[in-house]
């Protein structure tokens, strides 16, 4: 263990400021998130993720935000275990009918001010599951949505960019 820990002292960090995205360099994006979060929320934004029946693809990419490359917490953004601690609900899935009530109750348990971000193609309109008897077919039919992140699933960069947009609008 010591060897690995020592290595990380001398190695350059993996955390990326660099990789340029299509629209803006991630470094610049990160700085903007930082500024906006600091201004609006005193450098803290708590996110509660709710899976409303996704295929689990979106969750994998949301998980990736925590890895060394994206390191979400450096921006003061972090995932919390309870909706009662959250500012943002990050919701995935086509909202299955079986999850509708649980989602509504989670939303109700989140204190104001709160924002809802719909993640993935399913959250927008049900995606490939749109016409199913078992799906509501869109997040906005259940809770008010502030922002969507399209993609199947959206990349970690897209998720990061979306959180910035949200902060700007909220500020």
């Amino acid at each position: 263990m010591r060897k690995i820990l020592f290595q990380s002292l001398v190695r350059r960090p993996l955390t990326e400021a660099p990789p340029a995205t299509d629209e803006a360099p991630l470094a610049e994006l990160g700085a903007e998130v930082d500024r906006a979060a600091r201004c609006r929320l005193g450098r803290s934004l708590s996110i509660r993720q709710v899976d409303a029946g996704s295929c689990n693809g979106c969750e994998l990419e949301i998980h990736a935000l925590n890895n060394a490359f994206y390191d979400l917490e450096r921006f003061g953004l972090r995932f919390v275990a309870s909706p009662r601690h959250a500012d943002v609900l990050l919701v995935t899935g086509p909202v299955t009918k079986n999850m509708r009530e649980a989602l509504e109750r989670t939303y109700a348990a989140t204190p104001d001010p709160k924002w809802v971000v719909g993640v993935g193609a399913c959250a927008i309109d049900g995606g490939v599951f749109k016409t199913s008897y078992a799906c509501v077919g869109g997040l906005s039919d259940v809770v008010p949505v502030d922002l969507y992140v399209p993609g199947c699933p959206p990349s970690p960069q897209a998720l990061l960019r979306a959180l910035l947009t949200l902060l700007k609008e909220a500020a």
Binding site: M1, K3, I4, L5, L14, Q49, V50, D51, A52, G53, S54, C55, N56, G57, C58, E59, L60, E61, I62, H63, A64, N66, N67, A68, F69, F79, A81, S82, P83, G93, P94, T96, K97, N98, M99, R100, E101, A102, L103, R105, T106, G127, V128, F129, T131, S132, Y133, A134, C135, C152, P153, S155
Partner: protein
Amino acid sequence: MAALIDRIEGRRIEGHRPWPRLVVSEQVWRGIADELAAGRLVLVGLWGDSGCVHMAVLDEEAGDIAVASLDCPQPRYPSVGARHPPAIRLERALHDLYGMHAVGSPDSRAWLDLGFWDVRHPLGKSRRVAAERTPYPFLPVEGEGLHQIPVGPVHAGIIEPGHFRFTVNGETVVRLEQRLGYAHKGIESLMTGASLDRGARLAGRTSGDSTVAYAFAFAQAVEAALETTVPPRAVYLRALMAELERLANHFGDIGAICNDASFALMHAQCGILREMTVRAAAACFGHRLMMDCIVPGGVARDLDRAGIASLRALMKEANRIFPQLVELYDNTASLQDRTATSGVVRSELARQFGAGGYVGRASGRAYDARKRPGYAPYDRLDFEMALFDAGDVNARVWVRIREVEQSLKLLAQILQRLPEGPIAAPLNTSADRIVEGSGLVEGFRGDVFVWLRLEGDRIARCHLRDPSWFQWPLLEAAIEGNIVADFPLCNKSFNCSYSGHDL
């Protein structure tokens, strides 16, 4: 031993490939249930169709599979679960979707239908109803000093939805009862009438972490039904994708299991390897999870020179870093203290349930669909099956470690042997031909089974069976007698799919 499956008597259905399907009598149906109960056959799947039920069974020794079908003009059939418990949840789901009763089943509670739909039996003789929730009768637990902890469907982490009802005595779990179905999206009803393209997209979204395995099994089933020969280059590229998916998930799991034992260093290091893997996948095939990259007939994306370079870079890094992490895992006593002897699955249970993947192989069940029945190109590749018999969290970690090593070996072999040529073959669908096919693919979690019937170029019926069906029940058994605080650890070591199970 092949004789066991050959002995099943019935009317053989033409146009069902690659394994036989037989319409059997009620007596033969019961006989198969007895063979399952005696452990001479393994249950692969049990699902409904219009006017009949199907059951796929495996002769593990011979690697032979057969599908037995029982016509049920009345909506009832003799319960398999009454003799063979692994079938119980499948029968409950079958009842919710088709309205067919398993006569004699010890458990007739609803499973996927939680009372929120406005339709009953959506795949059978469906009727509109008002959504009506009736209280779910959890199994009674009696005794002094017991209390219950309900958890979910919304969990504390970034996880899929499901409900766990713990009954505990102090810190010790006396019983866990799962209640699933929250992620039910009605995939099998969406499959009905869908084109093959749409079917492949749906299959690839049954369980996002296994999108390659599902698309692979779906494509196998379509190609078997239509007697399509996949070009050799596509065969190898499919295996390449499947091994990349296995690597990414195993890296993620090993890290996450250690994280649930509060060893964050492994989590961070394994997270790096996982990210490197999905980035290599994106560089090769244009999608980090490789969704929609396998299509019936072949693959949708070819591998170019830059892709090969990114794979070589990934293999080099993984081969350099991973052995250090294995050493770290092996030499950290405080971590081993949590993983060793926690959440034990007895080998008899793993065998009885036909548990696939690391759950089965950590409990001594030597089964890997890549070996038996086996499919191309694995019959031409050299790899070993990881096998442990302690059945605890530690063993499930070690199966994953060994499989990471084997997958890296397989990647090297695939790149070395990758043939040139086309990457897809045309599908010879003809207007009114009815054909049936099935596929079995070893995903990272275990064997994914797909069965379908095509009418012309449309899907008439498609059933997808996740490996989790035979792993979830074992988690209930594994947690018994462990402390509540070890549940996340045990659960993560199983990493069952909610979405794949709920469909």
